[in-house]
């Protein structure tokens, strides 16, 4: 759901900007209202992107932490396995 919102906001900003570029290229002046709307649209797109990046970063950090954390039982198993290996050598 979150990702869909971001795509929507960013896409809307891209469309607003493309429209403005087309009008400017055709010599059609931008009005202050249109300018405000364009800036707001870009701003929304960027905020959504920032939110998304933050969510992704947090999720990645959580996954990394989960992958690297060993339980006490897992550590004891590792030590036992290592000691058994030493004895057999």
């Amino acid at each position: 759901m979150q990702r869909t919102d971001i795509i929507e906001d960013e896409t809307e900003a891209q469309i607003a900007l493309a429209d403005a570029r087309l009008d400017v290229a055709n010599g059609k002046p931008v009005t202050p209202d249109r300018y405000r709307a364009l800036i707001l649209s870009i701003q929304r797109g960027r905020e959504s992107r920032a939110k998304h990046l933050s969510t992704v970063t947090k999720a990645k950090a959580k996954a990394t932490k989960a992958a690297s954390a060993l339980t006490m039982d897992q550590m004891q198993d590792m030590f036992r396995a290592s000691a058994a290996q030493d004895e057999s050598n």
Partner: protein
């Protein structure tokens, strides 16, 4: 090669600016290749013609500067309201960006932020931080003309062209001069990908010759200017940060800078005359009068110098990779 051919291919510049002086200090050989030989690294376009490649950083900085100027002029000269001036500036940014044509792919995260969207937001946010109608941000007027984006030049005392004997001049281009209740402040806008609101960022401007040179130029026009403001704009992918630095340029600092400039120009001329006299070929069998620094300048800002690959790190320089395009400090490049 005859002396006449040498002088034609390697003319000593009539106009010196801060870019040249800094290039001279960081690597005299790079200064020689860029500003005397006039070389610029090129690449082949779709018609296999050599063209100078574009830099995202320079295009972004140029378009943003142009938009800021258009907005300030619209407000101060044309008398538009702040929102009308901002709209006009934004429209100008869109036009200028389109005029630049296709840009190369970004090479870093910093460059990824330098898009048209980023430029529009940096432009808009700038006037949120430093509003057009703020009494502290008003442009100085000289004969009714606002002091925004203009070129200035002034003769360098005691420095004459080594071949023609003509007076050499120093030139610079101001972003703006502000009038804060009768006191003049030079202003320069700097966009960057790095953090701006820090002591480190501010202290880098304390002795920056670029601003001392501007103050000296302003004094040549009868303006007493001993302070300089730097407006820092940090451009990120999702937001921009802004910060201001204020540095002083007491007269003794300006005089000290001028003495150094004179000495530098005289040394440049000495190296130039040695180069002309010895008529060196392209094989660097002996130390070049414009010496190679063999240091940080070869890879400043983690980017290879344009002369590293084909000139300095090769036994016989390959000049085919370059076009001759001389930098003229008095020419406006962002119109």
């Amino acid at each position: 090669m005859s002396r006449e051919q040498l002088l034609e291919m390697f003319p000593f510049p009539m106009v010196i600016d801060n870019t040249m002086r800094e290039a001279w200090w960081s690597c005299p050989h790079s200064f020689f290749r860029s500003h005397i030989q006039g070389l610029r690294k090129s690449q082949l376009d779709e018609h296999l013609q050599p063209v100078v490649g574009k830099s995202i950083d320079l295009v972004f900085g140029g378009v943003l500067a142009s938009g800021l100027e258009a907005t300030k002029v619209a407000y101060a000269v044309e008398g538009l309201s702040p929102i009308q001036a901002l709209t006009k500036g934004g429209e100008h940014v869109i036009k200028k960006w389109a005029a630049e044509g296709p840009l190369p792919a970004p090479m870093s995260r910093g460059q990824e932020a330098k898009t048209l969207e980023g430029c529009l937001m940096a432009h808009h946010g700038y006037f949120g931080e430093w509003p057009l109608d703020d009494p502290m941000q008003q442009l100085a007027l000289v004969n009714g003309h606002p002091m925004v984006e203009f070129s200035g030049a002034r003769p360098i005392p005691g420095c004459f062209h080594p071949v023609t004997g003509e007076q050499l001049v120093y030139a610079g281009r101001f972003d703006a001069v502000l009038d804060r209740f009768g006191v003049l402040f030079g202003l320069d806008d700097k966009s960057t990908g790095s953090y701006v609101d820090s002591d480190n960022w501010r202290s880098q401007w304390r002795l920056r010759g670029q601003f001392t040179g501007y103050c000296w130029l302003a004094q040549g026009y009868g303006m007493k200017m001993n302070q300089f403001l730097v407006h820092g704009i940090q451009v990120l992918k999702t937001k921009c940060h802004y910060a201001e630095a204020l540095v002083d340029r007491a007269n003794w600092k300006i005089e000290r800078w001028l003495r150094q400039l004179q000495s530098d120009v005289l040394q440049m001329m000495e190296s130039y005359l040695a180069f002309i006299q010895h008529n060196l070929g392209e094989v660097l069998a002996q130390a070049h009068p414009f010496g190679q620094s063999f240091g940080h300048a070869c890879n400043a800002y983690n980017r290879s110098c344009q002369f590293l690959e084909d000139i300095c790190d090769t036994q016989v320089p390959d000049l085919e990779r370059f076009v001759v395009e001389r930098w003229n400090p008095l020419e406006r490049t962002n119109d």
